[in-house]
Assembly symmetry: C2
Homo-oligomer: 305 residues x 2
């Protein structure tokens, strides 16, 4: 069987690129993989572990002869990378990205790319709190959603080919427009991350409870927050800086609701709390039914494969 792509170029060698590289190799979805990263030590590690067939020094070198280019750098770096690779892209190449924000990435990348390449923005809803060239694994995308955000006039054939690549890696592919994507992700991912970061920061600041107490007694609840709040700082800084409006809108609503619940605690309105907590339970059931989690109890020990 012919591979889907001849040569895939990864710009950025982190968790997502590493997982794609492993999945592509496992199923022979491309003939050749080349990669590059800004940091020399990342490139060296990637070379040592055989991340790709070839690790090169610059994005310009990486995209040479590539029929698929994957931008897998923090969202804030996408524009610079696009400008750098633009003169070196093969005519007819597909450029995609895996950024968690879509409007800002499109605005930053699209203007740099020549008319003879296909830019198809994407976002795999998959990840762990680990980063770097060693963090990837071939199963990361299995049963996870992959959102494609095609621009007007996108080539149907190339769209179908990229969709098939993600499906072969295990993803369920859906299409969405950029602004709606950014709002949905602000709710399901960006605001929750900021909240988790904040709560962990508060715990660290509190003088009357020592860090070691917080750490020792991190019962369920806080422990989940710390995992979220251990995510890559650069990636998340860029997410918030580039999905500003939607994130701030959701945080505004969040604060409003939180104040209402705080007030219920202060005034002793137990019914309001009970009703609220009963309602949120139903959403959990929906997620389990949608197959995005299981209802196996979490014993809080991270015994996850």
């Amino acid at each position: 069987m012919t591979a889907l792509y001849k040569k895939v170029a990864f710009i950025g060698l982190g968790l997502i690129a590493g997982s794609m590289a492993r999945a592509i190799r496992r199923d022979h979805l491309a003939d050749q993989l080349v990669g590059t990263a800004r940091s020399a030590s990342t490139r060296e590690t990637a070379r040592d572990i055989g991340f790709c067939d070839e690790i090169v020094e610059t994005p310009a070198q990486a995209v040479k002869d590539a029929d698929l280019v994957v931008l897998a750098v923090p969202v804030g770096a996408m524009g610079d990378v696009a400008r750098e690779i633009a003169p070196h892209l093969e005519p007819g190449a597909v450029v995609t990205d895996v950024g968690s924000v879509k409007r800002a990435v499109i605005d930053a990348v699209a203007p740099h790319l020549p008319a003879n390449v296909h830019f198809i923005p994407g976002h795999p809803l998959a990840g762990t709190e680990h980063t770097g060239p060693n963090a990837g694994f071939a199963e990361l995308f299995e049963n996870r959603f992959l959102l494609l955000v095609p621009l007007p006039g996108t080539d149907e054939h190339e769209l179908a080919r990229l969709k098939l690549l993600w499906e072969k890696m295990g993803s369920q592919v859906e299409f969405m427009d950029a602004d709606h994507h950014d709002l949905v992700l602000a709710v399901t991912s960006h605001a929750p991350h900021l909240i988790a970061y904040t709560m962990v920061g508060v715990a660290d600041d509190l003088r009357r409870v020592t860090d070691s107490e917080v750490i020792k007694y991190s019962a369920a609840g806080f422990r989940d927050f710390t995992r979220i709040a251990a995510s890559d700082p650069t990636m998340w800084r860029d997410v918030f800086m580039n999905n500003k409006d939607a994130t701030l809108e959701i945080l505004g609503r969040f604060t409003e609701e939180l104040f209402a619940l705080q007030r219920a605690i202060r005034t002793g309105d137990g019914d309001l709390l009970h009703d609220y907590f009963t309602r949120t339970r139903a959403i959990r059931r929906g997620i389990i039914e949608a197959g995005q989690d299981t209802d196996a109890p979490d014993f809080g020990r991270g015994l996850k494969r």
Copy 2:
């Protein structure tokens, strides 16, 4: 070997009592287990699954001849139960509880108990989002902390015996005073739970993003929140109503920090965000080093034993 207790009475037949009953039986830590619950259907289920040697109708019946009584009801119900069992307690019996709040429980329970019983408040830092008589499992307490909050003048022998029971069930037992307990738990558990409930409620409210989208695209972050926010509504209402001051204090600090981060997003202060996120990462490392979680990546599929 002689069992540690002759007869253990469980008032309340939920996750904690069920896990204790299973662990006690597995290791023959008591000769006999008796239990009761307010709801007839809970008692019936408990009878069907052989939760205890005997399921009785009332707390008064349950505590007859018991040398250990475990109050495993929501925090807000502890006082009523204490008043109900008080005239029926065996002289010399130990009464303990497993409530997530300690000052309010002590204030509600202690005044009712006769001078010839030993009240030793406790709190296992263990749980899942599941509730009811079927939710328990013998391994719940393994490698988890159990906080004992002994009152002045507590009998050393009985304290040591109860400590040993928890250690035999796998817990690491520590002592703490009631007010400090409530503050530590407000940070590590109570405030995070309220925050998770709030975020899930906001997602549900948002008109432009459908519930089904929230559910489908619940990437890491939100999915963890929904698990937390699926916890028992009655238990958590009671926690907040009974640990009001500490919870409100932590929520106040949380809001203050959140506003600072929101402001950084609005003004584009990426350095502040990056520094903050880098600091919260260190806490996560501490938790992993303290053995309360592993750094195995969470693939977000709940594949947890």
